[in-house]
């Protein structure tokens, strides 16, 4: 009989072993890496696909809106602006869709292992964020090709990304938890994502919207982040109150969509925490 090998040491600091930020980050890293691998290993083009998808969509939309509807004439930076919008939208759609399915897909882990469940939806958002970062590199290439010189105030892009991430995590947490109870939520959310795409100034300039509509779209953190990013990178010379949230809500108007993003995150976290004890038996 072969020798049995057991870890015989009594656990050190049992209370801290599976607690704390380093533990959370570590398991988030491991699960996100596995999710990323799974997401693209099944498809023929693999990782290329993650970049190809928004680029293909971009080509089609650019042809329709840039050429046929002549939005190219509005701004020399229309293609870059469009790609920026699409890449951000794609992140939102990808992360929230995957986030919604995440708990149900990881059913066996939920039923058999002990760990903070919040890691599962967040790790799918991280997975989508990796794709997002790769896509942002492509946007960077477009920006470079448009002969735009980088400026120091591009650092403001970081807090914008954090805000977008907070919003997306909040939405994903709400969807993931609801989907456990309502299995046809996916059909509804698919429609919402479509409406979101056309209801945000991704393909058209925000100024084309009537004022009442602008008041609505700028409550959406996604629109505020996108327009701020466009203003920073593509239109530094255009007055801020022309294209960003300032135009509808004044100089402190940014607080409204930022408040929405934080509120969504908070609601998501609280809702998830309330449902967490029952997830294993309901998935």
């Amino acid at each position: 009989m072969s020798e049995a090998r057991v870890n015989l040491a009594i656990a050190e600091h049992p209370e801290e072993r599976r607690r704390g930020a380093s533990y959370l980050l570590r398991i988030l890293g491991v699960t996100a890496a596995a999710d990323y691998k799974l997401k693209y290993s099944g498809s023929l083009l693999g990782y290329v696909w993650s970049v190809a998808k928004p680029l293909l969509l971009f080509t089609m939309l650019y042809f329709v809106y840039g050429h046929i509807f002549k939005l190219d004439k509005v701004s020399a930076y229309y293609p870059t602006s469009l790609l920026m919008g699409l890449v951000c939208f794609y992140f939102f759609a990808d992360a929230t869709m995957l986030g919604m399915y995440s708990l149900v897909m990881k059913e066996s882990m939920l039923r058999k292992l002990i760990f903070p469940r919040v890691v599962i939806p967040i790790s799918t958002v991280v997975t989508a964020a990796i794709t997002f970062m790769i896509n942002l590199l492509v946007v960077g290439v477009f920006v470079a090709a448009a002969d735009i010189t980088p400026r120091l105030d591009w650092l403001y892009l970081l807090p914008l990304l954090v805000e977008l991430l907070a919003f997306v995590v909040g939405v994903s947490l709400i969807l993931a938890t609801l989907f456990v109870r309502l299995r046809d939520l996916s059909q509804i959310w698919e429609l919402v994502v479509q409406l979101f795409m056309f209801g945000s100034p991704i393909m058209y300039p925000v100024g084309y919207l009537p004022e009442w509509a602008r008041k609505i779209v700028f409550l959406n953190p996604f629109t505020q982040v996108l327009q701020d990013a466009r203003a920073l990178v593509l239109y530094p010379d255009v007055p801020r109150n022309k294209i960003t949230v300032d135009q509808v809500f004044g100089p402190y108007g940014r607080l409204a969509p930022i408040g929405v993003a934080l509120a969504v995150l908070l609601v998501g976290l609280l809702f998830f925490r309330r449902e967490e004890p029952w997830l294993a038996e309901r998935v």
């Binding site: 870890n7 799974l38 039923r111 292992l113 002990i114 004890p277």
Partner: protein, 259 residues
């Protein structure tokens, strides 16, 4: 921090009840809520556990026996905090390593290597600790040749071997074992028995759920017998098993499965 009544205990289960509501007509779509907003869904209430109390001492090998559907696995999941009880309290002192049902939360699309990485991280191993113990995990499971194969190509016996190897290599004070012997071959069973001895000798606590009454008798200091979610007897293993055999195996049509 936990609040144990008795510091010598590792686990205290006090008056725990758990019901599962099984709806007659499953309402889990938005459509249902729209079409029938006022109809109340009727439930079949299944009482999985009914006022269960017992405690497990530190260093004890504690058995749980009962027929299929008697609530053994639910009890283990509540101790592991995978399920939440409706009433009662559970206090655990020490770090748990769960081996809950077959498969142990593996992802079938990932390789054995990746699954080891995920499971051990969730159970609290750092990357460096995993590196140190990886070879031991693989060696015990005897799956060296299959380490980069996807789990879906593993037999259930192989999956259990891998899961058990991980469960005993992470840091733990209390090992929860649910049917670890059910699908393994004899050789694996013998290896398990050897680890049981070692774990016991190291002063760790084990909660052992099994239909294999012979091994329950061989290893467990004390045993709990549950029937229909209600505790029938806790105490010396041989007496508990006698009662269990008498009630469920010898009497009437056999419901219980004995391996």
């Amino acid at each position: 921090m936990t609040r144990l009544d008795d510091p010598r205990h590792a686990i205290e289960v006090r008056a725990v009840s758990k019901t599962f509501r099984l709806p007659h007509h499953q309402r889990n779509t938005v459509k249902e809520y729209f079409l029938h907003p006022l109809t109340r869904t009727t439930f079949e209430v299944q009482q999985a556990l009914d006022d269960v109390s017992f405690s497990v001492e530190r260093g004890e090998f504690f058995g749980i026996v009962g027929a299929n559907g008697s609530g053994k696995s639910t009890l283990l999941k509540i101790i592991a905090r995978i399920y939440r009880q409706d009433a009662g309290t559970v206090e655990v002192q020490g770090l748990l390593s769960p081996f809950i049902e077959l498969g142990v939360g593996f992802n079938p699309e990932l390789t054995a290597r990746d699954n080891i990485r995920i499971n051990s991280a969730l159970l609290g191993l750092t990357r460096r600790e995993l590196e140190e113990r990886f070879d031991s995990i693989i060696a015990f499971s005897e799956l060296e040749r299959f380490i980069d194969q996807k789990l879906k190509n593993f037999s259930s016996g192989m999956q259990v071997r891998l899961a058990y190897s991980i469960a005993i290599q992470v840091d733990f004070d209390i090992l929860l074992l649910d049917e670890v012997l059910a699908v393994g071959d004899e050789r694996f069973q013998e290896k398990c028995f050897a680890t049981f001895q070692e774990i016991r000798a190291a002063g760790k606590t084990v909660v052992f759920v099994s239909h294999d009454l012979d091994s329950v008798e061989r290893f467990c200091d004390r045993t709990l017998y549950v029937q229909g979610g209600q505790p029938q007897m806790v105490g010396e293993t041989s007496k508990v098993i006698d009662l269990y055999r008498q009630r469920e195996i010898n009497a009437g049509p056999a419901i219980a499965v004995s391996i």
